[in-house]
């Protein structure tokens, strides 16, 4: 109903849904904190070449396994590579996976869900049974299977996450479209002669956006974690490219002797996940019409 208000007589004071959501998001301290961390990570990833003290492949065999010190603030790995630099470059992989994979998920899931929801009938039946089949697979197992077929690599991770992640979004979109389709404004649009695709794209999808946005904000950390998990077990990204999951996987065996090798990348994964989750929570609350003040 909240969505309808915007389209009906001007509510007062005049605040659009998005302005209101933005205002409430800003008031959520945790979400702001998470957002700042994400922005910082994004900048670090984008300008890694300028920020990182060393290149991520720069081996320095005389300084292997060094404890954090002035030259190497987070220590060095078994090849004497600077851990800080590798973490910064690792952010690049994580951010790319988070956003690009989620873009793929959305671009597959939303159209499929919208079609199923709008056209209903046999189309819906076929698509949704397909979705059910996909749902029956444990997600991570499915991703590992695809990676095993395609081989390791960043592009293949996008594909694997995209191919397995769209089902959730498709279901969500379908449910939204189903509900909106029955409402007066969409009937009105049809009554004045708008074509099916036009109703779908101009009238239904924009109104279904907020739950999709919430799903995406939670999908990003999931994708990041999936990449970390894949690299942890060694089917994600190949060396020498730096990936947090790979670092944790490789250095966990050194935990008693060189704890810093796996603690810092683990912390990086944890902080990133937490930040995205805070932002996701904030966005969800901000877009929730029931919580509107």
């Amino acid at each position: 109903m909240a969505l309808m208000l915007r389209r009906g007589k001007k509510p007062s004071p005049e605040v659009s849904l998005w302005q209101d959501a933005w205002r409430r998001l800003r008031r959520n301290r945790l979400a702001v904190l998470g957002g700042l961390v994400i922005i910082a990570l994004g900048l670090a990833a984008a300008f890694a070449d300028a920020i990182a003290p060393y290149h991520y492949t720069k081996a320095n065999f005389l300084h292997a396994y060094e404890f954090p010190n002035r030259d190497f603030p987070l220590g060095t790995d078994p090849l004497g590579r600077d851990m800080l630099s590798r973490l910064i470059y690792g952010a690049r992989v994580s951010m790319l996976v988070g956003f690009v994979a989620q873009l793929m998920v959305v671009s597959i899931g939303v159209p499929i869900g919208a079609l199923a929801g709008y056209y209903g009938g046999t189309v819906d039946l076929l698509i949704m049974r397909g979705v059910d089949v996909m749902y029956a697979f444990p997600r991570l197992l499915f991703v590992i299977l695809i990676m095993a077929m395609l081989g390791a690599g960043l592009l293949n991770i996008f594909i694997a996450i995209g191919l397995t992640g769209w089902v959730n979004i498709a279901r969500l979109t379908r449910a939204q479209i189903l509900a909106l389709k029955a409402q007066e404004f969409s009937e009105g649009a049809r009554a004045v002669g708008a074509s099916g695709p036009r109703v779908l794209c101009r009238h239904l999808l924009p109104n279904a956006l907020s739950p999709i946005i919430v799903a995406v904000t939670f999908g990003i950390p999931e994708a990041i974690f999936t990449e970390a998990a894949l690299s942890f077990i060694g089917v994600g990204i190949n060396p020498p490219t730096a990936s947090w999951g790979q670092m944790v996987g490789e250095y966990q065996q050194y935990i008693l002797s060189y704890w810093y090798l796996c603690v810092f990348p683990s912390a990086a994964i944890a902080v990133t996940m937490l930040s995205f989750t805070f932002v996701g929570d904030g966005v969800r609350d901000a877009l929730d019409p029931k919580l509107r003040d």
Binding site: T57, A59, F61, L62, A64, Y65, P78, L79, G80, G151, A152, G234, N238, P239, P240, E250, Y251, Q252, Q253, Y254, I255, L256, S257, Y258
Partner: protein
């Protein structure tokens, strides 16, 4: 020319693994004597007599913590990499801690004049664990069982030196009796070979020649090595086997030398590799292999460092450039790679002491080990020369490299950091970008044998201490099974075929030396490090076997006999 620094390096290297030069030469000479060869029982009884002052613990149980994977079975006769404890069975020969083959179930071994027919006389006291006599028929049957195509033993090629073995194994002949092994009587086994093979006793000391208990195999089929069914002839018998948890061994009451064994029972939990040293540090096991990540910490601790011993695990890590695909189809590129690798850095810095620089296939202290000046020069580390070697190739100046993947199997002991170091060196010196793919062992082996990999980071752990194992079983160009590289070379093949039948040890080793040179000059492979490992024993474990140089020799890929020496003192 060997300058002083290098000479000293070589000396310390040899000494560090407990091998004096004289030892090595004597070992060589002792292996074979010209003309008819025979060996009689002179098993050095260095068996566990508790040292004076040691008070034996009442319970003689040893908990070993070096099994990371559940054994597939205990049927070594069928699958010698089944991953079980080998000394549940005993062969005709065995290796001493100095890696010399000596009679074990046999008491006398003799060959005809040219070394093509070998006769083994079994000990009278040799018995199976159910009290039955162990006979020559058991060995003849077992070897044929392994070669029988119906058994589908994956590593049966180790027995191909027996006459007609290969033809029988490949189904070209079906006559079982044509295979060159037969029992002349209950105590005499005669092996007729394809030709002169001076190393045959060494091969017989290897696990490929272990027996299986015929009545059990016939009664229980694939289940004959379950704890309730198994009958074996080694110092130990399988007492219990809780699958995926642990198995226990107890002393074989019918083993001929049982009175010299102090341990009563051995408990072997299957520990996931990720557990690292924790089970040992929590006192759940008495013995563990030390992972690279923990070594420095243990060594820094005054108490614990006493429990750690360095030992030599005969094996070689090396790179194989696949010569059939670009860029490694260019000999110049392969040479460039061989000059771009700083073995000293990899051994000392990256492997964390788990390797020593290698300039050949065979590690120090073993017959066929060559590490002379000429060999060291062939693939010496020289970044300038490496880059210059690319002149005249499409990659001159380190440019225009195609996509290159280094492939390795997922394995422990610093294999991956070493591979990453190789990546860094190739990038640094040749500006060659590479990707490292770590493959699951089974996938790796399949693709390896299809010669489907481009640049391979791999190791060869010696099976038996004879150069035939390194050169023939690995690099022989006309191999039909388990061939790792596409590289093959007529001259090389001729040399090792000649060496196989050569009886004079010096001439034989000279042939292998030439073969190694051909192999390296064509860069059929790039040796990088010889492997070293570390074990930790709790202070109450005593009587560990030692080699002549006085160094501890725990169970490894060649020597397997630690359990017969160990005893537990009060603690």
């Amino acid at each position: 020319m060997l300058d002083h620094a290098q000479q000293r390096l070589l000396e310390t290297r040899l000494a560090s693994i407990g091998v004096g030069r004289r030892d090595f030469l004597r070992l060589l000479a002792g292996m074979t004597t010209a003309g008819s060869m025979f060996l009689t029982t002179a098993v050095p009884t260095v068996h566990a007599a508790p040292a004076p002052g040691d008070k034996l613990a009442k319970v003689q149980v040893f908990r070993r913590g070096d099994f990371n994977d559940e054994p597939a079975s205990f049927d070594i006769n069928k699958d010698l990499y089944c991953g079980c404890e080998f000394t549940v069975f005993a062969g005709l020969m065995r290796f001493t801690p100095d890696f010399v083959a000596v009679p074990w179930m046999a008491e006398h071994v003799e060959s005809n004049a040219d070394g093509s027919v070998w006769t083994f006389r079994l000990r009278k006291e040799a018995k199976w664990s159910n009290g039955e006599a162990l006979t020559a028929h058991d060995f003849a049957w077992s070897w044929k069982r392994q070669l029988d195509p119906a058994t589908a033993a994956p590593y049966s090629a180790f027995l191909y030196d027996l006459k007609n073995a290969e033809a029988f194994n490949k189904g070209q002949i079906t006559a079982r009796d044509a295979v060159g092994v037969k029992a002349l009587d209950d105590r005499t086994l005669q092996a007729t070979l394809e030709g002169p093979r001076s190393y045959f006793p060494v091969l017989v000391a290897y696990y490929a020649a272990l027996p299986a208990h015929r009545p059990s195999v016939e009664k229980y089929g694939d289940k004959w090595t379950e704890a309730t069914n198994i009958v074996s002839n080694g110092p130990w018998v399988l007492e219990g086997w809780g699958h995926n948890q642990q198995f226990t061994l107890k002393k074989n009451p019918h083993y001929f030398d049982r009175d010299h064994i102090t341990l009563e029972r051995v408990v072997v939990p299957i520990l996931p590799r990720a557990a690292g040293l924790l089970p040992y540090e929590n006192n759940e096991v008495d013995y563990a292999l030390v992972p690279p990540g923990d070594l420095r910490r243990l060594q820094a601790d005054a108490n614990v460092s006493q429990q750690v011993s360095r030992y030599f695990y005969p094996g070689t890590f090396y790179l194989v450039p696949q010569v059939v695909a670009p860029p490694f189809d260019h000999l110049k590129v392969r040479r460039a790679v061989s000059h771009a690798i700083d073995r000293r850095i990899i051994a000392e810095r990256v492997s964390q002491g788990f390797g020593i620089p290698a300039h050949g296939m065979i590690p120090p202290g073993l017959p066929g080990h060559f590490d002379d000046e000429a060999l060291q020069q062939l693939q010496r580390f020289d970044p300038k020369l490496a880059l210059e070697s690319l002149k005249g190739t499409p990659y001159e100046g380190g440019k225009h490299w195609p996509k290159i993947a280094i492939s390795m199997r997922d394995e422990p002991y610093a294999a991956k950091p070493m591979a990453e170091a190789l990546q860094a060196m190739l990038q640094d010196v040749l500006h060659m970008p590479t990707e490292l793919e770590v493959l699951e062992p089974r996938v790796f082996r399949e693709r390896l044998w299809k010669q489907d990999l481009q640049l391979i980071w791999i190791r060869w752990f010696m099976d038996y201490p004879d150069p035939h194992n390194e050169y023939f079983d690995t690099f022989y160009g006309k191999r039909t099974t388990g061939k790792r590289q596409a590289w093959s070379n007529e001259v090389f093949d001729d040399l090792i075929t000649k060496a196989r039948g050569e009886l004079d040890p010096q001439t034989r080793m000279a042939l292998y030396r030439q073969a190694e040179e051909v192999l390296q000059a064509h860069v059929g492979y790039v040796p990088v490090v010889w492997t070293v490992r570390y074990v930790a024993f709790k202070p109450w474990v005593k009587g560990l076997p030692r080699n002549k140089a006085g160094h501890i020799v725990p169970d490894g890929n060649i020597y397997r006999g630690m359990l017969e020496h160990i005893y537990i003192v009060e603690h």
